[in-house]
Symmetry: C2
Subunit: 295 residues, 2 copies
């Protein structure tokens, strides 16, 4: 796919997502909480999860208007998890993407509540869709997202990540964290988009496999960049994992195996997506580019 | 209604709710987060919201099996809000009902995540019901609960409560806090139970009015007890509102008007419930007893 066409189309998706997010989060009373929610949602995220949802929906000819609110729900869930992760009691991060984190810009109480509000709002939006649109596929999309966000998904991964801090962990635990903390919310948009776009159960299962691979691959890529990039390129401190005594895919298996496994996971995932034919080209390119990024 | 029969029936409801909550929160991996969730859910709550949901459902002949999971979802949402409210950045409470709060028993990170997990679990359970049971009334019940839990309900009330701390507030603001922080999650079970039990839109509106009155009345009652009870009877410090410079219904309007308004609100609510006839007797008694309590 021509790079200019790709970029143009990608930006159209991002605009479409941002416009809807802005509508959903239009400021009402009490304004302070909406401002905090908007601050974090519009803090420069690349909209990975909503884009995956829309692309997956379109792969079998689905319409992006059908999936957009679920796509936004995914972004709100992702954002709430970042806000809570950044809190002093968790990762205690003052900055994210170069800007103050929610609890630094506002205060801790506001950040806790803004996170809660974003999670709840994600459900409010999905429930409105479910009621309005009747078809069971929307209920199932909501279930995929809800399961991925919960203890058997993202929160479970986060819990083990927090517990493991500063401890020696084995490879099963590391994989559990990557699968749940990161991959669950990559898999969910692919499945939710897929079912709304008309995929069969077997096709959904394929997307689940692809999503898991992609999620783990992204995490390995992050771990690799932390030791191979520079602070200038990455926009955040490198060797941070080493400094924090954090066990990563690279510290556990070495850079060579990390790069090899990254390739295997990505080839497998891209193979699945390629199998969907002509309409999958954009998703294929998008994922490929994300993993070949240098920051 | 005979007092012994009432108490027996009430305890049967509570057992029924607790059994289902225990099933929903059965310990899986990672155990620590389930333990924290269970710790707070089973910390001695009186199950007000689930009981209201079941009673409202049964008022028009609905079956408690239909509403039980929504009733448990309400309790999980209520519990998550308490866990987050108690955090150091919010109310900074070390004890609740005489036992250490979640972040004191475990740690802050676990408490934040346990709250998040309970909110998400509430939706997981409701979504499973919606998919399994097909009928639209379950979707609507979920919407009532979701709206009440969000920024236009409980979270909104909490935000204004936090912002107002130590400030002079007017009566509109005080009423907004009571309506949203407290009454929204009293109204939601009455409406959710009502719709699942077969109420018409007009009847749901009546329950909404009753719920709002009851919620505000409960809050006024709390404010009154804080100045008329003793620490021994109440099981928590009295005059705490005064000590914390907290503006309450009593400090704003005086004890006489507070008691008068409490009676007006309750008479109005009980009148609505009485209008539903024979089957509403238990709910009627339950609410009456709650407001005439001395602690």
């Amino acid at each position: 796919m021509d790079n200019i066409i790709f970029e143009k189309k990608l930006n159209q998706y991002i605009d479409y997502i941002n416009n809807r997010l802005s509508e959903i989060l239009s400021i009402e009373y009490p304004p302070k909480i909406y401002e905090a929610m908007r601050y974090s949602v519009f803090a420069g995220g690349k909209r990975l999860r909503p884009i995956l949802a829309i692309m997956s929906c379109e792969m079998l000819g689905g319409n992006k208007e059908e999936i957009i609110d679920f796509a936004c729900a995914l972004e709100m869930i992702h954002t709430y998890s970042l806000i809570h992760d950044d809190l002093p009691a968790m990762d205690n991060d003052d900055f994210r993407r170069g800007a103050p984190t929610c609890h630094k810009k506002f205060d801790e109480a506001t950040a806790i509540l803004a996170g809660d509000a974003l999670l709840n709002k994600a459900y409010e939006v999905m429930i409105d869709n479910v009621i309005l649109k009747k078809e069971e596929k929307f209920q199932k999309a909501m279930k995929y997202i809800s399961d991925a966000a919960g203890v058997k998904g993202m929160i479970g991964g986060q819990v083990i990540d927090v517990i493991s801090e500063g401890k020696k962990i084995d490879s099963d635990t590391l994989l559990y964290i990557h699968k749940n903390k990161t991959a669950a919310l990559i898999t969910a948009p692919l499945k939710a988009g897929g079912i709304i776009g008309g995929m069969s159960d077997d096709e959904i299962k394929l997307m689940e496999k692809a999503g898991e691979n992609i999620g783990i691959a992204f995490q390995i890529k992050d771990d690799i960049l932390d030791v191979t990039s520079t602070t200038e390129v990455l926009g955040k401190p490198v060797f941070s994992d080493e400094k924090n005594d954090k066990i990563t895919y690279v510290t556990m298996f070495g850079i060579e195996k990390a790069e090899k496994d990254l390739k295997i996971l990505m080839d497998d995932a891209l193979g699945i997506i390629d199998g969907f034919g002509e309409k999958s080209k954009f998703l294929y390119e998008y994922i490929k580019k994300l993993v070949s990024r240098i920051k």
